[in-house]
């Protein structure tokens, strides 16, 4: 099935929405990086690292992720309500198979 042609260039507000979606998609990727990062820190035996520091680090990251996700969610759900959920989202574009 060929999808209906979509415009190549967008006005300012739809453009912003698209970029918000991009940001929302990338957030978990950044989050995963930050959560796996401590793996590469020096082991605790070296003395330079303290468990309390780790605890604080994880909860700070956690809080940040929650706050950013909250900021995104407002815009994303407003967009959904406005019927802006275009066909380009959800990654469903890879309709490889038949049809």
């Amino acid at each position: 099935m060929r999808r209906p042609r979509r415009p190549i260039f967008l006005a300012r507000i739809p453009y912003r929405r698209r970029r918000l979606r991009d940001a929302a998609r990338l957030l978990p990727v950044f989050g995963a990086f930050l959560l796996v990062l401590p793996v590469m820190w020096s082991p605790p035996d070296a003395g330079a690292r303290r468990l309390s520091g780790d605890v604080v680090y994880f909860f700070v990251i956690w809080t940040l992720l929650v706050l950013i996700a909250a900021a995104f969610a407002r815009g994303l759900s407003a967009e959904d309500a406005a019927g802006g959920s275009g066909p380009d989202d959800g990654g469903g574009d890879d309709g490889g198979g038949d049809g």
Binding site: R25, P28, V29, V36, S52, V66, I68, D89, G96
Partner: protein, 918 residues
């Protein structure tokens, strides 16, 4: 949770260790009962409101988010502290993984929820079976995996409740004899089963939602959060003395020696992220019970926040527990024993209720989710297979509900049985992550199913079976310990001495801990088998339809291709069947609205059109699952299901239609063009006919004037008796008039020859200046009395043309004569400019008169055209027409040149005219 580390102590040992200032056991039971009755009434009231449609804030995103908290079971409430005490911060992965999934909701969750709502999915088994062609066998496999993975998990919850009872029950100052652990377990199980059956199988709702239970679970979510946070605050500010000192104590505790294992850390993050999507109970609250897609946006950050709060005090509690509690106490119970040991009976009570809430909410939802799967994919299909007539005759609503009730009881009984069998063994505590790894086997089929149209049923089936077998062999069965299920020798040396098949070191991989190892291999083999088999097999028609509908779910409502090709079913039979499942009212209103939509005003029964059949199937699948609904309808409709040929025909049909319409469009354009051309031709013909008439009348007029005078004078002459001078005058007049006639006829002949293109040209080289000289001289006899200046550029004129010099000179004469005749300036002058441009000579003749009026410019080259108000004109009006024809015959063009001051003509002739062009 590392295996074999937890639950080493029984309840008795554990509380004997604490300085338990135990609470009266009957008070505990009383509190429990009161709490349960409270939950009952909440669920009951909400159900009643739901039935009258006054749910209001009960369907808010807050309730949705709180209901998601069943992810945090008793394993979180009690187990996380124990986990932290043993493995440091590793417990965080269990909550950080889901955090990533939720803040990335735009990727997967949003699509899952949309699919779930659009296809009325009733469970994760239904989702997978529906995606892969409504295959019931796939549903059965998913159900079996889910039950196998979840049963021990339910047992774990029972155990935690029993353990927490045990903490309180150790001392019985009032002489009340507490029941033993087994008895507690059986009471708890029975109570939970009752609650679940009462509220979980009330109605066979079209969308499988249980508002009462969801609200009760939300209440429990608040209780467990408040309880854990209260204990945490007590520990940090009450026992440790503030945040700073708490951090110091953390650094000083045995936990500080914990070191992060990269493989395990990453693997667990991934595992918990996968589990939060795949766990049947999470799917139930997240997708099935979702009332509004907008709630997901709120939950995307609110649920991670909830988990962060739940985890915030885990480390402090573990640290303080290790610090304050005597050595050997069970860290799994620190949440309870720590407040108790400090004499905080009320706080301990709250913590107990929190743990109780965690366990019960999880068990209830899990039981509902599993029971839906078991009844929809195993019991009902089996029943229909055994008694095919039952689809029409039997009371299916009752059957499905009863199947569900029995399934709930069976699931609970299995959980209890597992608990009894394992006897609260050490293995139980590790079962949380093992169950996660079990349900994570759904991941490839699920994610592949909603993002990849090439995924096939056979591929999904192979992947699931391979993953499940690997998981069972490498993780689940060995978790019972050596010689429990798998013999110690098999564990150590592999089956039949094949060391590369050792369950915990498959293919010689020994560097990983058993959980990561099993997760790695099971998912690896699962995904590989899924992919390879999918690529190699060919999907059936329903499969392909469903695949397209799932993958492209955001492309608009399910207006996709029809699922049924033709309706051979009796509408009445369909109605009877629908009534058995949906209930009379709902089925009748569904049929009636469909009939109205089809334009039937009298009848209740719609025609069994493909669209109606699809709609009916979707409604039925909300109650009994997609596979069963599909099977039931196909039973009635017969072989009206789509085949691959139908699909292809449909596709080529629509392609043909598109092509056809494109052709039509092209033809229409062509027709429009032809019509335009015809219209133009017609106008031209009309014009020509008018011109011809005008020409004839002109010519007769032109001929008659000299003829009249010739006739008149010849009459006079024939009368005789005229004086000779009179005769001579009359003869001259007759001669002049005859000459004029001849000239006119010559011109006309010339014109007709020129127009027909049969003129013979005498080509030769000629000098342009000589031709113009000649023309100027010849034209001098026109109005010889006027002083007429001719401005020329002799140098430019000096060029040789290959053309018919006489003809061209004729044109020049005509143009110059016209200028002499009509230029009305006081000092008339004519400018002749010559340019050579691209092999052509451009000659402009421009005088300084008043020019030719605009409206006449277009007609001056027509025959018999005379300028209006030009009374002096003597010619027949053929001059310019002849000029035009001559120039055309010489391969050039002549045009009026506007924009000069006076009348101007531009003549363009080729420099070299070859005979061909003539």
């Amino acid at each position: 949770m590392p295996q074999g580390a937890a639950g080493r102590t029984t309840a008795e040992e554990m509380t004997a260790g604490g300085t338990a200032e135990a609470m009266p056991f009957n008070l505990l039971v009383l509190a429990c009962l009161a709490y349960v009755i409270f939950l009952f009434s909440v669920a009951f009231l909400v159900e009643r409101r739901a039935r009258t449609g006054r749910l209001g804030w009960l369907r808010s995103s807050l309730v949705y988010t709180l209901s998601l908290s069943i992810y945090c079971t008793a394993w979180t409430f009690y187990g996380a502290v124990g986990y932290a005490a043993r493995s440091g911060l590793e417990f965080l992965t269990v909550y950080l993984g889901p955090t990533l999934v939720f803040i990335g909701w735009w990727w997967v969750l949003r699509k899952l929820v949309r699919i779930g709502r659009q296809h009325r999915v009733t469970s994760i088994a239904d989702l997978i079976s529906s995606r892969f062609g409504k295959s019931n066998s796939l549903g059965v496999v998913v159900t079996v995996i889910a039950v196998v993975a979840a049963t021990p998990y339910i047992a774990l919850q029972l155990q935690s409740v029993v353990l927490s009872f045990g903490v309180f029950a150790s001392r019985t100052p009032d002489g009340f004899t507490p029941p033993d652990a087994a008895q507690t377990a059986i009471w708890v199980t029975a109570g939970l089963a009752l609650f679940t059956i009462l509220f979980g199988t009330r109605n066979l709702d079209a969308k499988e939602q249980h508002h009462g239970i969801v609200t009760a679970i939300a209440v429990e979510a608040v209780v467990k959060l408040v309880a854990l946070v209260a204990v945490g605050i007590f520990v940090v500010w009450g026992l440790a003395g503030g945040v700073g000192q708490m951090l110091d104590r953390i650094d000083a505790s045995p936990l500080a020696g914990w070191s992060m294992q990269p493989g395990r850390w990453t693997g667990l993050l991934f595992l918990s992220a996968a589990a939060v999507i795949c766990l049947p109970r999470m799917f139930q609250v997240m997708v099935v019970e979702n009332a509004d897609e907008g709630h997901l946006a709120r939950a995307s950050w609110a649920f991670p926040a909830y988990m962060a709060l739940m985890s915030l005090f885990i480390v402090p509690i573990a640290v303080m527990g290790l610090d304050l509690m005597p050595a050997g106490s069970n860290p799994d119970m620190f949440v309870l024993t720590l407040p108790l040991s400090q004499g905080q009976g009320g706080l301990a009570m709250l913590a107990f209720l929190g743990g109780f809430s965690s366990a019960t909410s999880m068990v209830i939802v899990e039981a509902i989710a599993l029971a839906t799967m078991v009844s929809n994919h195993i019991v009902v299909p089996a029943w229909l297979k055994l008694r095919p007539a039952a689809a029409l005759a039997g009371d299916l609503r009752g059957l499905v509900l009863n199947a569900r009730r029995v399934s709930i009881a069976a699931v609970m009984a299995m959980g209890y049985g597992y608990y009894q069998l394992s006897g609260g063994s050490a293995a139980l505590a590790a079962i949380g992550l093992i169950a996660f790894a079990g349900v994570a086997q759904f991941l490839p089929a699920m994610i592949g199913g909603i993002f990849w149209r090439g995924a096939t049923r056979t591929g999904a089936m192979t992947g699931l079976v391979v993953g499940f077998v690997t998981w069972a062999y490498a993780l689940f069965l060995p978790s019972f310990g050596p010689d429990a299920v798998l013999s110690a020798s098999l564990l150590a040396e592999g089956p039949a001495g094949l060391s590369w098949l050792r369950p915990q070191a498959l293919f010689g991989v020994v560097g990983m801990d058993p959980l990561t190892h099993a997760l790695f291999w099971s998912l690896m083999l699962n995904a590989t088998a899924f992919f390879i088999v999918s690529v190699l097999t060919f999907p059936g028609p329903v499969e392909r339809l469903q695949g397209a509908a799932f993958v492209n779910v955001f492309d608009g409502p399910s207006s996709g291709p029809r699922r049924w090709s033709a309706g051979e079913a009796e509408p009445e039979e369909l109605l009877v069947m629908a009534q058995r499942i949906l209930g009379e009212d709902e089925a009748q209103s569904l049929f009636e609205s469909a009939a109205r939509a089809q334009g039937k005003t009298q009848s209740l029964l719609p025609d069994p059109t493909p669209e109606f059949l699809s709609e009916l199937e979707q409604r039925l699948s909300g109650s009994v699952g997609a596979a069963t609904a599909h099977a039931m309808i196909s039973q009635l409709v017969g072989r009206a299901m789509v085949s691959v040929e139908d699909l292809m025909a449909l596709a080529s049909e629509s392609a043909q239609i598109m092509e056809h319409s494109a052709q039509l469009e092209a033809q229409r354009e062509k027709l429009a063009r032809t019509a335009g051309a015809l219209r133009e031709a017609n106008e031209k013909l009309t014009q020509l006919s008018v011109q011809k008439d005008a020409f004839l009348s002109q010519i007769s007029h032109e001929l008659r004037t000299p003829m009249t005078s010739i006739r008149a004078f010849s009459e006079i002459l024939s009368e005789g008796d005229l004086p000779p001078e009179m005769v001579a005058r009359n003869g001259r007049i007759i001669h002049d008039e005859a000459k004029r006639l001849t000239r006119l006829l010559d011109d006309l002949l010339d014109l007709s020859v020129l127009e027909s293109g049969k003129v013979s040209l005498t080509l030769g080289l000629a000098n342009l200046r000589e031709m113009i000289d000649h023309a100027v001289q010849s034209a001098e006899q026109v109005k010889p009395e006027r002083d007429f200046a001719i401005l020329r550029d002799l140098a430019a004129e000096n060029l040789f043309l290959r053309t018919d010099a006489d003809r061209l000179t004729q044109v020049f004469i005509n143009l110059i004569s016209n200028a002499r005749k009509y230029c009305d300036a006081a000092f008339p002058e004519l400018r002749i400019a010559v340019r050579v441009k691209g092999g052509r000579v451009v000659i402009d003749f421009a005088d300084n008169g008043k020019g030719i009026p605009k409206e006449a410019q277009s007609t001056i080259f027509e025959k018999f055209t005379r300028l209006p108000n030009e009374s002096r004109a003597k010619g027949a009006g053929l001059g310019l027409a002849i000029c035009r024809e001559i120039v055309a015959n010489l391969g050039g063009s002549i045009a009026y040149l506007p924009g000069q001051r006076g009348a101007a003509f531009r003549l363009i002739v080729p420099l070299r005219l070859d005979r061909r062009a003539a």
